[in-house]
Amino acid sequence: MKTIFKTKLNTATIVLIPACIGINYLGKLFASLLKLPLWLDSIGTCIGACLGGPIIGAICGAANNLIYGLTTGDNITLIYALTSLGIGFVVGILARLGFMTSFPKALICACGGGIAAVVISTPLNILFWGGTTGNFWGDALFAATQAAGMPVAVGSLLDELVVDVPDKLLTLIIVYLILKGLPKKLTALYDANAKIERLD
């Protein structure tokens, strides 16, 4: 249990957080430049979570939405700070449990992150938007479920599910590929279980 939540809050991890927040922003930017129907705005959060553990992941996620919400005027993201926090936390735990070591396992990790996002976002969506998410495909599905007379909660859940799970799947595939390419001397900086060997 202890090793899962073990966090090194040294300079290296503090510097990692703004880098991850920047990566989140870039992911979102590239997704909109390439006109992809997904958000892809949690790549940095997931990288932070995989390298630094669940606590750093959660801080990355929450700080990401708080900073953008309070400075770029996109204050819709402010509400979803909770979602990002949840994604970072769950992905961090799964990564520490060894779910980022191989490709199939990374997919399970992605599903975990996606479900965390769905579970936290759905009540927020219902509370603030009456169930919609702001993504075209998801909202079309929501409209269809409402026309079919399903409860708002079910419609909103499906709405989130179709958008968030594929989004997190793609995100974590990218994260997995990136992390595999990182040099060992960099990842060693964030390894909480690393021990310094003394030669004297």
Binding site: L9, N10, T11, A12, I14, V15, L16, I17, P18, A19, I21, G22, I23, Y25, L26, L29, F30, A31, L33, L34, K35, L36, P37, L40, I43, G44, I47, A63, I67, G69, L70, T71, T72, G73, D74, N75, I76, F128, W129, G130, G131, T132, G134, D139, F142, A143, Q146, A147, G149, P151, V152, I174, L177, I178, G181, L182, P183, K185, L186, L189
Partner: protein, 257 residues
């Protein structure tokens, strides 16, 4: 280099106000309609925020924000007006689309809430520099490490944007297709983002060493380069805002009887 912050210094009285006072205003503007529970409170507070934005000469910067939220609000109106479960009374119909009164009312409430939140935040965002906010947070006992995180995001982002442009050009010149059908665009995503991410992550190592050398990890209390002049308005406005919130709570309790 373009900053991502929307802050503009117009030298207005809102610029001089303490960030906390403006945060309290956000709380008041969002809290009053929720506590009061009446629909007419929304337009009232939206009007208040608009007046503040005009007085700070930042209305022009606000318009794109409103424009962005309008699409969301229109979608909500469509979905709720057409399919809300409480829909009974027909309000009007366009072709085969029937809009109902209950759904439209519900959508109005949500739409007003969104606009109200957006504008009250705009009052804060457009008139407060991130640097000032961080300084004030640190002065009231916030960890300087978290202050660094916020400040550093603003330094890193313009750098990353520059790298992004370089990499987009480089990959295109190697023949990477960034336009076309969905599959082509999906495939282009990884070759575009991974070099930026890699360089950002490898930079963190150097950055952390540089910071460590300059005593970033020291526990001693830090001093500030600039002192913030105190204003009398801050206290007056804070008292007014708190009185307003309390008055709404009392009014709500009395009207429940």
């Amino acid at each position: 280099m373009k900053s991502i912050s929307l802050y503009v210094d117009r030298g207005s009285w809102l610029n001089r106000l303490h960030p906390y006072t403006k945060l309290l205003y956000i709380l008041t503007a969002i809290g009053i309609p929720l506590i009061g529970g009446k629909l007419w409170l929304f337009p009232f507070l939206i009007g208040c925020s608009l007046c503040l934005l005009i007085s700070a000469k930042t209305l022009r910067q606000t318009l794109p924000l409103i424009g962005f939220s309008f699409t969301v609000i229109i979608v909500i109106f469509l979905i709720q007006g057409l399919f809300n479960h409480q829909n009974q009374q027909l309000l009007f119909s366009v072709g085969f689309l029937r809009f109902y009164k209950e759904g439209i009312l519900y959508a109005t409430r949500i739409g007003c809430n969104i606009l109200n939140m957006l504008l009250s935040f705009a009052v804060f965002i457009l008139t407060t520099s991130p640097q000032e906010l961080v300084d004030e947070l640190e002065k009231s006992g916030f960890s300087p490490k978290f202050g660094y995180i916020i400040n550093s995001v603003f330094q890193i982002l313009p750098q990353m944007m520059a790298t992004k442009d370089t990499i987009m050009d480089a990959q295109r010149s190697r023949g990477l297709e960034t336009e076309g059908n969905l599959m082509v665009r999906m495939k282009a995503f990884l070759p575009l983002i991974s070099p930026v991410v890699m360089s950002a992550l490898t930079n963190t190592r150097e950055r952390s060493i540089a910071l460590e050398v300059r005593g970033f990890g020291r526990k001693q209390k830090k001093t500030w380069l600039s002192d913030r002049p105190k204003h009398k308005e801050d206290r007056v406005i804070r008292v007014i805002l708190i009185v307003l919130i309390l008055a709404t709570v009392v009014w709500r309790i009395l009207s429940c009887r």
